[in-house]
Amino acid sequence: MHKQQVIRRIFLSCLLGLLYPFSLLAQQAVDVTAKADTNSIRIGEQIKLQLTATLTPAQFKDPNFRIIFPVLPDSLDHFEVVTRTSLDTVSNQDVHTLHQTFTLTSFDSGHWQIPPMRFEVITGANATADSAVTLPIGIDVNTVAVDTTKAFKPIKTVQAVPWSIWDYWLYIAIGAGIVLIIGGLIWYFRSRPEKAPVVNTPTISPYELATQQLKTLKEEKLWQQGDVKQYYTRLTDILRTYFEHQFNIAALEQTSEELLQNIKPVTKLNQQRDKLRSLLAIADLAKFAKLQPTADEHEDCMVKAEEILEWTRPKSGAAEEDGTAAEKQQA
């Protein structure tokens, strides 16, 4: 019995010894690694962690073969995952390599380990699952050394950002557009054909206008109808308007006394002034004191007005001047 047990044990040991190399071969078929770009960082600095799985061409071509990369949570023990890339495949003739890169950082100072990464390997028609595990990686997270013996330094001023002309391309384009539009408008208005000036040919002189108005006033027979005030208002207005345009004095805005003073330089004859004074005096009484002059006085005032027009009528040489005055009147 004892002898049989010993033989059975030797047999099993030999069998295990024969199978062991096959199991090793199976494990070495998928090579997985985890590699960090550095093993020492300052607090808050970033580490690139690259996970790699290397496959043989047979495994790569095998439709039943699959490898599942480890799914890292956002936060590992003492490490934070900042970014992660998608899976990348690099194929050569002999090997096929799968890569995935993670950016990690740590805010805890000390010596920490990135834990082993477990890859799931599925093989065969019956989907046999196996695992491949990477080695842990030790990382030193160091704090920034502060020299407390030194004085505090002031806060740094705002740093000027280097500028590029392309930062302002939109403004430059708008400015150039406005300049072009203004330039175009200037060019348009300058090159536009000028309109021919409209020449107003004088049609009637102040003298003729006043004569016509006096004639109309006579025909209206205002004083004969009892409207004496209106008659003298119109009569003096005609004379004042005539003086204004003929002699360029603001006769409409002057009282009778002022008018007599200001008309002096243009009507040199005393007789003219006396007639004008007499006419304006009667007109003022009729306009402001309800005076009812006699019929003879009405006629006399009209005659005086006509005489004043005749005396102050411009000579033929001054016809041009008349025209100018009439233009002003029309304006």
Binding site: E253, S256, K287, F288, K290
Partner: protein, 333 residues
């Protein structure tokens, strides 16, 4: 009732006779006042139109002498109040004092109880004293304690302001200045006039004293006639045009005046312009107003009623400049 042509003719004759005292009065005042005819004329306008006069001029221009002589010529009572910073309203209008014998309060009337008041340097007294005087001017009555006293008619206040010294003065507010019918600016006499002034002062015996030409009751009668002076609708429109041009210059094609005028004439300006024009026509012995009358008194009635902006002051534009522009732009009827 509307005036007819014959009414106005009768009125004209009546006024021609009644206004004769104006020339006599002017001649009488001329015995002691050399020159200053303009100021005397304005005082008479204020007297006839029931207005008050604010006089602006440097000291020594016969302001006191003028109003004192006028009161003598009218046989009226005259008071002079020198306004000072420590003056109290009671010093002007009067106060209640305790009579120990009768064991009661009695009224002590102030200097304002007179026909002619010279309020000398009115801007030297504080606002409450100015207000007391200006209230009396407006209401023509004074209340002391429980008693109200009517002021004697005629009642004319001639207030003076010195345009040079402004330090330590209380400038009259616009609302108070508006209560003066006329603001008259007087200047120095001419060389000839000043020569006569020297002679008159060196030999005071040579000039005869002022005689009473008329009585206060004559002035009250004359005022009634001034009220009757005929003012045509055209003249009323002319007055309104002038006053409205100070308020809305752009309506009279005077856009350039718009930024220079802070505020224009109040309705009181229109009323006073009409009154003063009537009084001026009366003094010229006419029973009706003509545009010359309005223009003649326009500056004195309006100059203190046109407020200037900061821009106008910066450009040295005066209210007289503005009024000149307006009178040259508004059409005369």
């Amino acid at each position: 009732m509307e005036n007819t042509s014959s009414d106005i003719r009768q009125l004209n004759e009546k006024i021609h006779q009644a206004s004769a005292f104006v020339d006599l009065l002017t001649m009488e005042l001329g015995k002691v006042i050399v020159g200053q005819r303009y100021m005397v004329e304005r005082l008479l306008i204020g007297l006839l139109a029931q207005g008050h006069v604010l006089l602006e001029g440097v000291p020594g221009l016969a302001k006191t002498l003028s109003i004192k002589s006028l009161s003598s010529a009218i046989n009226a009572k005259f008071s002079r109040i020198q306004f000072t910073p420590d003056l109290l309203p009671a010093d002007v209008v009067g106060t209640m004092i305790y009579n120990q014998q009768k064991n009661e309060f009695v009224v002590r009337r102030g200097p304002i109880f007179a026909n002619f008041i010279l309020a000398d340097e009115i801007n030297r007294a504080p606002a409450k004293v100015q207000s007391a005087l200006l209230e009396a001017m407006q209401e023509r009555q004074i209340t002391i304690g429980d008693n109200t006293f009517k002021l004697d008619e005629p009642f004319l206040v001639l207030a003076t302001q010195n345009p040079i010294e402004q330090e330590g003065t209380y400038t009259l507010p616009e609302a108070q200045v508006d209560r003066f019918m006329l603001k008259v600016v007087i200047g120095y006499p001419t060389k000839e006039e000043e020569k006569l002034i020297i002679r008159q002062n060196l030999n005071p015996e040579a000039s005869s004293p002022i005689r009473a030409i008329i009585q206060p009751s004559d002035i009250i009668e004359a005022r009634k006639l001034v009220r009757e002076v005929y003012m045509d609708e055209k003249i009323e429109k002319y007055i309104l045009d002038i006053v409205f041009a100070t308020r809305n210059p752009e309506d009279y094609k005077l856009n350039k005046l718009k930024p220079l005028i802070a505020y224009g004439g109040s309705p009181r300006a229109s009323i006073n312009l009409a009154w003063a024009a009537k009084a001026y026509a009366f003094m010229k012995r006419r029973g009706y107003v003509i545009p010359e009358d309005v223009r003649n008194i326009c500056f004195d009635v309006m100059r203190h009623r046109v407020g200037l902006t900061y821009e106008a002051e910066a450009e040295n534009v005066t209210s007289e400049n503005i009024l000149s522009e307006i009178l040259n732009a508004v059409e005369v009827p």
